[in-house]
């Protein structure tokens, strides 16, 4: 198949005016400059000393910054020009699902009818919000095949920990103390960290030569002290766990529960549901699958859906339909309690509902189909340069390896990733999962065109040619970016975390 790359996809045309460092807000400060303007209130300007005891007043003024609005705008606009983003170009970061986020969802979230509502307002005055939460919960349950959900967790990791606390509450209610949770060796580190915080010990299950959970090893690891297993399916290598039914049966037979890490839910929308695979607890990363922009590292939202036998333990209070078109807050009977200061990352939840409504069941199914198609196309297109770690049909992402380049030219996965930045693409995820040597994990997502994928493939071909002709130059890539490779060791050796740190 010959594809001609069209203009677009690459961010290499983004204007950079130079390579000078941008001063900090504090370096830009000039005494007595300011930008703020407040409402004229007419409230008596009583001296603070008359209102508050001296023991509480700060004798010093905490310095913030002193800049004009014009300088503030210039500063943050320049910073924004030193930042790669999905809107700028392709962001094929494996396991992160950096798809294009429809602007419509942002517009929905910026309506004052949603974003100016106080979270402590009585239910009678925030019925619209409660209906949004209830409707989203119902749709997420339909998509995952579960009975009910909490929308409180703020992110995937918070969802994981919530799920583990639900697992614990379930076993405790059955009078059981179980102390171990199984996780595959390909799992993301967050799973392990969450297990510890859930009060459990990690038992690692090895993967087999096909990149899947080793069923024999799994069965050997099971026992009466196993609370459950955390699985990502498709797994972190981008492969579907084909023996999921056998895995589910074995874990359930041992009295354990199955936890579904929704990091890769984008791959299976409309094709297979976690509930139908036998999972008892499912977290979703709404910011990945349901297109909330990632905000440079957050916010996200990590709702947790559960099967019928766990509904009573869900965090609360939950927005609930109480009849006659009225919604209210109801705490589940055996709730583990709150996991968020209020009701969860509500504006992210509203965006997700808008995204689901626009796509519908049919559109969500196409999302998964095209995400899987794009990943397989890229895997096949790159097979000569970066072979797949497991050479067969993958799901929404493909784990490739730079081992051949390392052997032939001493060029590593990191070098390829950095050179891609020069080519105007964001890097794939590198050195993850840990079980693959020189891993480069590409997740093109459904929102990139085949022309953009071809453009990426041609960039990688140019990098492979450079690896042959001038491998040394790749160790120094990137050069065209706002800064070149940074001295990470120096940052860790002498921590400078604020402008006030002693240098």
């Amino acid at each position: 198949m010959i594809v001609t790359p069209l203009p677009g996809g690459r961010a290499a045309s983004a204007p950079l005016m130079g390579h000078e460092a941008e001063p900090t807000l504090f370096e830009m400060s000039v005494a007595n400059r300011s930008a703020y303007q407040l409402r004229s209130t007419g409230v008596p300007a009583t001296a603070l000393e008359e209102l508050l005891p001296a023991a509480h007043l700060n004798p010093e003024i905490v310095p913030v910054a002193e800049v004009s609005e014009r300088d503030l705008v210039a500063h943050f606009t320049r910073l924004s020009h030193r930042q790669f983003s999905v809107d700028l170009g392709m962001y094929p970061l494996g396991s992160c699902t950096m798809k294009y986020n429809p602007k419509f969802c942002d517009a929905i979230a910026s309506d004052p009818g949603l974003n100016a509502v106080h979270p402590g307002a009585p239910a009678s005055l925030s019925q619209g919000w409660l209906e949004i939460l209830v409707t989203l919960e119902e749709k997420l349950c339909a998509i995952t095949g579960m009975s009910a959900a909490t929308l409180q967790p703020s992110a995937g990791a918070a969802g994981e920990l919530t799920g583990l606390l639900l697992m614990r509450a379930y076993h405790e209610a059955n009078g059981e103390t179980r102390r171990r949770v199984l996780i595959p060796d390909s799992a993301h580190g967050t799973n392990a960290a969450s297990v510890t915080l859930g009060g459990y010990e990690v038992t690692t299950v090895p993967s087999n030569e096909r990149g899947l959970v080793d069923l024999v090893a799994l069965k050997a690891a099971l026992g009466p002290d196993v609370a459950g297993i955390m699985l990502t399916n498709p797994n972190t290598v981008g492969l579907f766990e084909e023996e999921i039914t056998e895995i589910a049966r074995a874990v359930h037979d041992a009295g354990g529960l199955l936890y579904y890490d929704g990091a890769n839910l984008n791959a299976i929308l409309g094709a297979v549901r976690p509930g139908d695979m036998g999972f008892d607890i499912v977290h979703m990363n709404l910011h990945k699958t349901f297109a909330t922009p990632h905000g440079g590292g957050g916010p996200g939202a990590g709702p947790v859906a559960v099967a019928a036998h766990l509904v009573d333990f869900l965090p609360g209070p939950r927005a609930t339909r109480v009849g006659d078109g009225f919604f209210n807050w109801v705490a589940p009977t055996r709730s583990i309690g709150r996991v968020h200061g209020w009701h969860g990352n509500a504006l992210v939840l509203a965006r997700a509902l808008a995204y689901i409504d626009v796509h519908g069941g049919d559109g969500l199914t196409r999302v998964a189909q095209h995400a899987v198609l794009n990943a397989n196309w890229l895997r096949h297109r790159l097979r000569e340069i970066l072979p797949a770690a497991y050479d067969r049909v993958c799901m929404h992402e493909c784990t490739l390896t730079a081992t051949p380049l390392k052997i032939k030219y001493g060029v590593r996965a990191l070098d390829v990733a950095k050179a891609l930045l020069e080519e105007g693409f964001h890097s794939p995820t590198v050195y993850f999962p840990l079980i693959v040597d020189e891993a480069l994990m590409f997740e093109p997502t459904e929102t990139e065109s085949v022309q953009t994928l071809e453009s990426l493939a041609q960039a990688i071909e140019r990098i492979a040619q450079r690896a042959k002709d001038d491998p040394e130059s790749l160790h120094h890539a990137p050069q065209s970016t706002p800064v070149s490779r940074v001295d990470e060791a120096r940052a860790a050796r002498k921590l400078i975390a604020t402008a006030d740190a002693v240098r």
Partner: protein, 441 residues
């Protein structure tokens, strides 16, 4: 594209998934609608949200505040480069977010009076949980002594996560609105946690709590209102080892409670136990200043089950927004906001205490919110005042999900009232009149 893969249909891509688990008839989710059609559905939701701060005058607070957010902050924080970026794993193309986070960290450090901030956590409640985990790591102990002046939701979240960590949460009651530290046995304690101001608005003298922490070699954790730092002592000045706070006040709208911004800072002694990400300054290979996420060896993706926290996604966009908002406010704007909050709250308080059926809940000094005891249930009064488009405050009974042993008498009649710099004298005078009516009706 399928032909390139030697396939005939999209279904071939899913053929390796066992038929037994395949969804036979597609998702049971309605068909997709156009954006204008979905917008129409959402306008139904928004019109059912009567309590929005553009149509009702907001006197509700309790950790969520109606502050001024100017056009310039909205526009800058909505720039798509900030909004649609991922976590800054490739620093060469993420200097924008990294430097903004460095500036945010500097501001958190100054407002908390502590040297080591992180790059944000989910919200104040979960930041408190991370502080408790840090205290456990520092002391090896499980007992957490927490003032009942800490927001009821934060305490509930702490109790929830203690189910996994095994922490023993000991709540210290309030007496006349102030924590009764003398009533608690703080031996073998990991953390002593105080709130400043406490959730009923009261400014407690934190010296006693600090002394209690010190005497028992526990970490002193202060949950403080960061706006208060514009005029009041910082957590660091009260001797805190750890500061946690809610950063929503800095540029994030009320948002029905999220996404908000968990502020976190600690002393240099605790840096290796810091939860979440931290940005550090360094240089690039051409010796130019550059920023990068650092001390990564603490984090979950590297340290796995031995990590200091499981946090990965945080609230970066809210942190960047806070840096922009604080840049807009500046040193004297923040002071002005804090001062006006205090002036407005005290002006309203004076007006309310003259009313029949209103009593002060305590005689203690307060900053920007206060509790009053009404002659009627607070939820009835809130409903009545809503008819005059006033969100009168928060019912303390509802806030504490039914009961807080620290509240003497009938908790249902206690109302928490908040004033921000956006409330005018006319609005406050109107509030007094409407409450008078609501109580006599």
């Amino acid at each position: 594209m399928l032909a390139f893969l030697g396939m005939d249909s999209l279904d071939d891509l899913f053929a390796h998934i066992p038929q037994a688990v395949r969804l036979a008839n597609g998702l049971d989710v309605a068909e997709g609608l156009s954006e204008p059609d979905v917008a129409a559905i959402f306008s139904g939701y928004t019109s059912a949200n009567k309590a929005n701060a553009t149509s009702m005058t907001c006197f509700a607070g309790g950790g969520a505040y109606d502050h001024e957010v100017p056009a310039v902050v909205k526009m800058l924080s909505n720039r798509s480069e900030f909004v649609t970026a991922y976590t800054p794993y490739q620093p060469e193309v993420a200097q924008g977010v990294l430097q903004a986070l460095f500036e945010y960290q500097t501001l958190v450090s100054r407002l908390s009076g502590l040297a080591i901030p992180n790059a944000s956590l989910y919200d104040a409640a979960t930041a408190l949980v991370e502080a408790l985990n840090m205290a456990h790591g520092a002391t090896g102990r499980q007992k957490m002594v927490i003032s009942s002046g800490v927001h009821p939701h934060w305490r509930q979240v702490a109790r929830t996560f203690a189910r996994g960590t095994g922490h023993e949460i000991v709540e210290v009651p309030l007496r006349d609105g102030v924590t009764d530290w003398k009533s608690v046995d703080a031996t073998n304690t990991a953390a002593v946690v105080a709130a400043y101001p406490n959730y009923l608005g009261v400014l407690e003298d934190l010296s006693e709590a600090k002394a209690l922490a010190e005497a028992n070699e526990a970490l002193f954790v202060v949950g403080a209102d960061p706006v208060a730092a514009g005029v009041l002592k910082t957590a660091g000045q009260w001797g805190a080892d750890v500061f946690v706070g809610e950063g929503q006040a800095f540029g994030t709208p009320l948002s029905f409670g999220g996404p908000y911004l968990g502020l976190f800072a600690c002393t240099a002694a605790q840096v290796r136990r810091l939860p979440g990400r931290i940005v550090g300054e360094t240089v690039d290979s051409s010796d130019r200043r550059a920023f990068v996420t650092t001390l990564r060896a603490r984090e979950q993706d590297i340290r796995r089950e031995k990590a200091t926290s499981n946090v990965c996604t945080n609230q970066t966009l809210m942190a960047v927004t806070a840096a922009i908002q604080l840049g807009w406010l500046g040193t004297y704007g923040l002071r002005e906001v804090a001062t006006r909050c205090a002036q407005g709250a005290h002006y309203l308080y004076e007006g309310l205490l003259g009313l029949e059926g209103v009593d002060a809940h305590s005689t203690q000094p307060f900053f920007r919110e206060f509790a009053i005891r009404l002659s009627k249930p607070a939820d009835q009064v809130i409903a009545a005042m809503a008819e005059s488009n006033i969100l009168a405050g928060l019912s303390v009974g509802a806030l504490s999900d039914g009961g807080d042993p620290s509240i003497e008498g009938n908790i249902e009649n206690v109302l928490l009232v908040t004033v921000t710099e956006r409330r005018t004298r006319d609005e406050i005078d109107h509030y007094v009149n409407v409450l008078r009516e609501a109580l006599t009706r």
